[in-house]
């Protein structure tokens, strides 16, 4: 059973608008959450993270929100740029390992 779920396989957004990528998890013991971005033929790159003791973390155009009661986190990208077009993976820290969602492909059109 999937412990980290990204239910939207794809998202299309216009340049300058907000992109919101969503992630749900089932295990309440997860204590750290991360977002990675992946371009074709490259390895995933770390984007932003949040500890379970916080509900928001911001880094430039990227903000991650965590709702522990709903077991839900989201990544907001404002404003979206064409270079943001990539696959975004949500991950949860479970001890030493990371558990990844299946990814959401973001397409930002100019």
């Amino acid at each position: 059973d999937q412990q980290v779920k990204q239910n939207s396989p794809s998202l299309s957004v216009q340049e300058g608008r907000i992109s919101i990528l969503n992630c749900d998890y089932t295990n309440s013991t997860f204590d750290y959450f991360l977002w990675y971005k992946k371009y074709p033929a490259e390895g995933p790159t770390f984007l932003i993270s949040i500890s379970s003791i916080k509900d928001k973390n911001e880094d430039g155009r990227f903000t991650v929100f965590l709702n522990k009661s709903a077991k839900h986190l989201s990544l907001h990208i404002v404003p979206s740029q064409p270079g943001d077009s990539a696959v975004y993976f949500c991950a949860a820290s479970a001890g030493t390992a990371l558990i990844f969602g299946k990814g959401t492909t973001l397409s930002v059109s100019s």
């Binding site: 990204q6 204590d31 750290y32 991360l34 990675y36 033929a41 490259e42 390895g43 995933p44 790159t45 770390f46 993270s49 500890s51 993976f89 820290s93 001890g95 030493t96 390992a97 990371l98 558990i99 990844f100 969602g101 299946k102 990814g103």
Partner: protein, 115 residues
């Protein structure tokens, strides 16, 4: 740049042959990981290492073995490759021991095709 290289970057092999993939890091980090990425599955952990000669299994370890004789190198071996092991393999390193602040940094990947 986390100083991770993977070799080879691409490999085509035949069913039943042994294959070894290499991950090399220049950062001297204790933790190293092997993942595979397949369509519809995201990234799944195969094996990981928490020090020289210290390894453990991940979610999808069947058919794979690993070795770590030096801090900087982590090898993934397919003893007898099968078509189901056609995938993109990523190595990762971690600067911390897990839990909070467990950011992992990934190599460029190895695309393996088993015919």
């Amino acid at each position: 740049d986390a100083g991770i290289t993977q070799s080879p970057r691409h490999k085509v092999t035949e069913t039943g042959t042994p294959v070894t993939l290499r991950c090399h890091q220049t950062e001297n980090h204790r933790y190293m990981y092997w993942y595979r990425q397949d369509p519809g599955h995201g990234l799944r952990l195969i094996h990981y290492s928490y020090g020289v000669k210290d390894t453990d299994k991940g979610e999808v370890s069947d058919g794979y073995s690993v070795s770590r004789s030096k801090t900087e190198d982590f090898l993934l071996t397919l003893e007898s490759a099968t078509s189901s092991q056609t995938s993109v393999y990523f190595c990762a390193i971690s600067r911390t021991s897990g839990g909070a602040y467990n950011e992992q940094f990934f190599g460029p990947g190895t695309r393996l095709t088993v015919l």
